[in-house]
């Protein structure tokens, strides 16, 4: 399994798809967008920060572990940092696999794990 993790201060640009083999049957992509309502408040955006080296290491470990249970071929995870306006993506994940079930399970679990303990924070105000 190939896993690529990127943090970027810029709007997420999805890299062109380059199929690693003729056995890829599922390409699953997820954009997590910043929404306007956060509880009671109306936002114009969110500010994201990360403890980069640790976040990266933890994500690498999570993705590698998930690949054990859900054999996929490739995962690309991009997390935007800094200010992200409403309607733009803070997170992008692309999973390539032979079959869709593995891609779906992998993606669902990857976001759960990201939110579980990976040191990234969204702040309602830039502090």
């Amino acid at each position: 399994m190939k896993a690529v993790i990127q943090f970027t201060p810029d709007p997420i640009e999805v890299p062109p798809l380059d199929l690693p083999s003729r056995e890829i049957g599922a390409v699953l992509e997820f954009h997590g967008l910043v929404r306007e309502k956060e509880g009671e408040a109306r936002l114009s955006g969110l500010f994201y920060e990360a403890y980069d080296p640790m976040a990266r290491t933890l994500l690498e470990r999570h993705l590698a572990e998930l690949g054990q249970g859900n054999p996929i071929d490739e995962v690309l995870l991009i997390h935007r940092l800094g200010w992200v306006p409403v309607g733009e993506a803070s997170l992008y994940i692309r999973v390539l696999s032979s079959h869709r079930a593995e891609a779906l399970a992998f993606l669902a679990e990857a976001v759960i794990r990201l939110k579980q303990d990976v040191p990234i924070w969204k702040l309602v105000k830039r502090s």
Binding site: G32, M54, I120, W121, K122
Partner: protein
């Protein structure tokens, strides 16, 4: 190196940074000291139990001696994604 001369970097993220008033600080410490003790010394008013800590970029116990640690990060509840 004697214990008293050792130094580590304390990193404070997100809400922890607001409470600490810094994002990065170099602090002298004793290898026998735990993260909890170091935080109580550094921030007497704060409750360290509200944060997780990472020692050298791995989650760690508040109550394990810091030993050879070079970096202590204060990690409030994460909210990425």
């Amino acid at each position: 190196m004697g214990g008293a001369s050792m130094e580590l970097t304390v990193l404070a993220f997100a809400h922890a940074r607001e409470i600490c008033g810094f994002s990065r600080r170099t602090v002298a410490f004793d290898p026998a000291e735990t993260p909890r003790h170091l935080l109580q010394r550094l921030l007497p008013a704060a409750d360290p139990g509200q944060w997780a800590v990472a020692v050298d970029r791995e989650y760690a116990s508040l109550d394990e001696p810091l030993g050879e640690a070079r970096e202590l990060a204060l990690i409030p509840p994460v909210s990425g994604g």
